[in-house]
Every structure is written in structure tokens, then in C-alpha cells.
């Protein structure tokens, strides 16, 4: 207790070792593995894009969007009817599936009692519908919408079929967006004497719109790329005019591409590649819009 200075006799301690042993080999391999996996995806995507653009190069000019398909003279052929058809079909798909999907999502998130068996059944079915192969929707469209309802091979039939195809995706995306709105916002609104409808319309939906828009755009860009269900609907017909309304016959880009690829002449392959480039540009534009919306309106709570 009393000994005042003991430390002066103690031997000097070695300085603490602070030098690391470097990154262990295992961790280096792990990181290498991560990079390699990423590279597979990026390299293939870049290769694909490069290949398509190179193939398309001789035909990548204004003819592709100003001319109509021409089965005799490839140099004179274009994809205007397919581009316009795609825009028509996708616009009406949006008109049919967005309101339906969003309203269904509102019901499931805000009104449905999750303990009721029928709501559970609906929920499981929506999950399953999102996984159903698109060709099955084609059969449904052909059997029920085209023949059963007698809408024929029209823009209307195509957009209704595609609506059914992407409806589950729209519902799921919208539900996610609605669920991301914190419960505290709903409680604050209700505590001020707002009705449930006022709360949803004035607080929940405005806060959820960016998320719903992002999800819906991604869903629609899936619909744009779909060929299978429309092939079944008879969209493979040779169309040399733009749609003029929902009752018009139509063709769309994926089908036009399919059509040209199956021709034997090399000129048509270049033409198909050019159409692919156009399709990719439309898809990238939509996805960029989705990303922009997400970043622009991203909320912190």
C-alpha cells in the first residue's frame, strides 16, 4: 500500500504490436469470387448489347421507324407499325392494369383483415399468379377474351391479356409501396379526426405514389418484352399499318423481331437486330424513368 514508486524497477514492456497480418487468403479469394460473379453478368450483358448493335449497324437508320414491314424488299422494310403497335398496346395495358392493381393493393393493405381466410386465399393466389408462365395468359386471352368475348385479334385483346399478366406484379409492387408508409402517419391522420378514406387518399397514397410508379413501370416494361402470349393471340399476322384504335389489328416489336429472325435472308437478320435495339431503347428509357422517380421522390421518415 505504502510503497510509492515501484514502477521504476519494473522492466520496460515491449511496445504493443499494432502491425496487422494483412488480409487472410480466404478473404481475398472470397472477394475474387464476388468480382468474378459480377463480371459474368456484366460481360454477358455488354457482349449481348455489342453483338446486337454490330449486327444492327447497317440498318440502324431512320428507315426502321419511318417505313413499314416489307416482305419482298428488306432494304425498304421498317418497323413503324410494330413500334406504334407496342406503344398502343402498352398504353392501354397501363390504362387497364394500373387502376385495378392499385385499388386491389389498397384493399388488401388498408381494408382487408389478414386473419380472414378469404383474404389469405386471395393473397396466396396473387403470389401464385405472378409466377404463372406468360404463355398460359396467352391461352386465356385467346380462349376467353379473343374468342369468348369476341374481341378478335385487336389491340384491346392484347392489352387486356397483358394487363392480366402484369396485374399481380402491379398489385405486389403497390402493396410494398403502401406498406412502406409508416403506421405513425396513418395514426396521426386518424387522431386528427380524418376518416379512413381521407387518410388513405391524402396521406398514404401521396406517400406511396413514387414506389407504386416505380413498380408499375417495371411491370409494364416486362409486358413490352412479352411475345409469347401475343403470338398465341395471333399477333403474328403481317401488318403494314399503324393501329388507329383499340379495335385495330396490330403487331408489336417482339413479334416483328421474331418474324424477321425466322426469314432466311441475312438482310432480315440485320433488320431484326435494329428492331431489337429500338425495343431495348424503349425498355431502358422506361427503366431510367423508374430509377429517376425512385431517387427523386425517395422519402426519409
Amino acid at each position: 500500500m505504502g510503497a510509492p514508486v515501484v514502477t521504476q524497477d519494473a522492466p520496460a514492456l515491449p511496445p504493443p504490436r499494432l502491425k496487422g497480418r494483412g488480409t487472410p487468403l480466404r478473404e481475398r479469394f472470397f472477394r475474387l469470387g464476388l468480382w468474378a460473379s459480377l463480371a459474368v453478368g456484366v460481360v454477358f450483358l455488354a457482349g449481348l448489347l455489342l453483338y446486337v448493335v454490330v449486327e444492327a449497324w447497317p440498318r440502324l437508320d431512320s428507315r426502321i421507324w419511318s417505313n413499314f414491314p416489307d416482305i419482298i424488299d428488306p432494304t425498304n422494310a421498317g418497323a413503324q407499325s410494330a413500334i406504334m403497335g407496342t406503344l398502343w398496346v402498352i398504353a392501354f395495358t397501363a390504362v387497364y392494369c394500373l387502376p385495378t392493381g392499385i385499388l386491389a393493393a389498397i384493399y388488401l393493405e388498408e381494408y382487408a383483415d389478414p386473419d380472414r381466410w378469404w383474404n389469405k386465399v386471395i393473397e396466396i393466389n396473387i403470389q401464385n399468379l405472378a409466377a404463372v408462365p406468360s404463355i398460359v395468359y396467352g391461352i386465356l386471352g385467346l380462349g376467353v377474351i379473343s374468342r369468348g368475348l369476341g374481341f378478335g385479334q385487336t389491340v384491346l385483346t392484347a392489352s387486356l391479356t397483358l394487363s392480366l399478366l402484369v396485374l399481380p406484379i402491379v398489385i405486389i409492387a403497390s402493396r410494398e409501396a403502401i406498406r412502406a408508409v409508416p403506421q405513425s402517419i396513418r395514426q396521426a391522420s386518424l387522431a386528427l379526426g380524418a376518416t379512413q378514406w381521407q387518410t388513405i387518399w391524402r396521406q398514404v397514397l401521396p406517400a406511396a405514389v413514387p414506389g407504386m410508379a416505380t413498380g408499375s413501370i417495371l411491370a409494364l416494361s416486362r409486358a413490352i418484352g412479352e411475345a409469347a402470349p401475343l403470338l398465341l393471340l395471333g399477333g403474328l399476322t403481317f401488318i403494314t399499318f399503324n393501329p388507329t384504335g383499340i379495335q385495330s389489328e396490330f403487331t408489336v416489336l417482339p413479334i416483328q423481331i421474331f418474324n424477321w429472325i425466322s426469314q432466311s435472308r441475312a438482310e432480315f437478320v440485320a433488320l431484326a437486330s435494329a428492331a431489337i435495339v429500338i425495343l431495348l431503347v424503349i425498355l431502358l428509357a422506361m427503366n431510367s424513368l423508374a430509377i429517376w422517380l425512385r431517387n427523386r421522390y425517395a422519402r426519409r421518415w
Binding site: D115, P182, I185, Q187, A188, A191, L192, A194, Q203, W301
Partner: protein
């Protein structure tokens, strides 16, 4: 450690000699009459047999350890428990002699008269102006909204701080300002009662002091019921204090109950129940 029962009152008095408790008015004109109130979540009785009267234009504090049901009781007063599908409320809660859970009572009307401020500041992700205007707008307010916003923010002692940024997002405010905005938003619909569910628990001491000042000022016009974990806060601001605790039954389930309800001065200096005394002297909870 082993303080005899009898010295408790004296001990309580010496621990906080500087506090001057606020004088409670009589309960003759009670706003709420609660009798035999029990709240169930499913089969679980979260709170049992609560009896109390809430005085007009006074601050009533509800204190007690976690899980004692004080927030549950608070949420009965504006029927926020309706939002919990499994919640059931038994017993009597009369608001000016009107049964709050009566068959013809519209919870929307109840909540317009009995506002609520939550634990975590939860302004709408809109402008300060829209936060204030929201309640009156959904309630069908027809007058001049600009005037109402100014009047309300002045009332809540927030006008000077925000008058130049009314159109900016409420989320840009500090936590304390957000909470005062939430209080302002509540009084914008001109309720009679304001329920506060631990309004300061996420705030620093300075922001807390501002909220307490505001509560004191608002108590001249509004009846305030505040749930708090902070006993000093209850002692500082409230006129009456209710102490809740939880009994644990054989199955390990907690049942909240009201132990003691009295004037704050009495609860903190001379409680009549041993459990109250243990709690406020920091021996449990």
C-alpha cells in the same frame, strides 16, 4: 436500504424539496368518468378495473413501469384502440356524461374533440403549413386557412421559429420542433382534450423543457392527459397523477392496474400505497 414505512413520506419530501406542486382543481366538473375499465387484446386482459375522473383544464399524468397499461388506457379516451382489431374495451368511459363507446358514437367525431400527440414526432411528409391545415381541412373547415395556421402556430409558441419557412418540409425541423408542430397540428382542430403519449421520450432536456412550458400554457384552455416515463416530468407539470403498475399472474401474463390516483403533490410527497412510494423513490420500475 430498509427504510421503515412511516418515514417514506418524509423521505419523499426531502428528496425533492424545491418542487412546488401545482394545485389541482376539484373534480366536480370532470371531463371523463372512467369506471371499471378493462381492456383486452384477444384473450389477454391488458388492463383491469380502472376507475378515475379526469379534471377539466388540468394536466393529468399517468406514470408507471413499462407494460402497465397506461398507454392502453390513454388510447381508450379517443378510441385509438379501435384500430387494433383484437382490442376490446369493457367498462365505462363517459365523456361529459356521454358514453364514448356508445352504439351511436362516431370515433371520427370523438377524435376531433379529443386529439392525440404521439411518442415519436410524426409530422406528415408535407410542408409545415400543410401539417397544420390538414386537420381543419379534413374536418371541413371553411374559414381562412392562412389565418388559422398563423393563429395556431402562435398559440403553440412556434410561429416565430417557422414563420419564414411555412412552405418547407416539416421533416426538416428538429425533433423538438417537430413534436411542437404535432401539438400545434392537434390544437388546430380545436379539441377540448389533448392526449399525449410520452411526448418527450425521444427529445433532449431542452426540447423537453419547451414542451413542458407549452403544456403548462395549453392547460389553461385544454384538458391534457399525459403518459410519461419521466417522474420528474409528472411532478413538474401535472395537477393530478395516476400511478399504474402491472400484476404478473401464474401464467406470466401482465395485467395493468391503477394503484393510486390523487393530486400530484400527494402522490409525490405522501403516497398512500406502498407500491407508489417504492416506484417514485426509484426502488423499482
Amino acid at each position: 436500504m430498509t427504510t421503515p414505512d412511516t418515514s417514506g413520506a418524509a423521505g419523499g419530501g426531502t428528496r425533492t424539496p424545491q418542487v412546488s406542486y401545482r394545485q389541482a382543481r376539484s373534480l366536480a366538473e370532470a371531463v371523463f368518468e372512467v369506471g371499471g375499465l378493462s381492456v383486452f387484446y384477444g384473450d389477454h386482459e391488458a388492463v383491469r378495473d380502472v376507475n378515475m375522473s379526469i379534471g377539466d383544464r388540468q394536466i393529468t399524468a399517468m406514470i408507471g413501469p413499462s407494460g402497465c397499461g397506461k398507454s392502453t388506457v390513454l388510447r381508450c379516451f379517443n378510441r385509438m384502440n379501435d384500430l387494433v382489431p383484437t382490442a376490446r374495451v369493457h367498462g365505462k368511459i363517459h365523456y361529459h356524461n356521454e358514453d364514448l363507446y356508445g352504439r351511436e358514437v362516431d370515433p371520427i367525431e370523438v377524435r376531433r374533440r379529443i386529439g392525440m400527440v404521439f411518442q415519436k414526432p410524426n409530422p406528415f411528409p408535407k410542408s409545415i403549413y400543410d401539417n397544420i391545415a390538414y386537420g381543419p381541412r379534413v374536418g371541413g373547415f371553411k374559414g381562412n386557412v392562412d389565418d388559422l395556421v398563423e393563429e395556431t402556430l402562435t398559440h403553440a409558441a412556434l410561429w416565430e421559429e417557422v414563420k419564414d419557412k411555412l412552405k418547407t418540409s416539416a421533416l426538416a425541423l428538429s425533433g423538438g420542433q417537430q413534436q411542437r408542430l404535432c401539438i400545434a397540428r392537434t390544437i388546430a382542430v380545436k379539441p377540448e382534450v389533448i392526449l399525449m403519449d410520452e411526448p418527450c421520450s425521444s427529445l433532449d432536456p431542452i426540447a423537453t423543457a419547451k414542451i413542458e412550458d407549452l403544456m403548462e400554457k395549453l392547460a389553461e384552455e385544454f384538458t391534457i392527459i399525459v403518459v410519461t416515463h419521466n417522474m420528474q416530468q409528472a411532478a413538474r407539470v401535472s395537477h393530478r397523477t395516476a400511478f399504474f403498475t402491472a400484476d404478473v399472474d401464474d401464467k406470466g401474463e401482465r395485467h395493468g392496474r391503477l394503484v393510486e390516483y390523487d393530486e400530484t403533490a400527494r402522490i409525490f410527497s405522501n403516497p398512500s400505497d406502498r407500491r407508489t412510494e417504492d416506484y417514485i423513490s426509484g426502488r423499482f420500475g
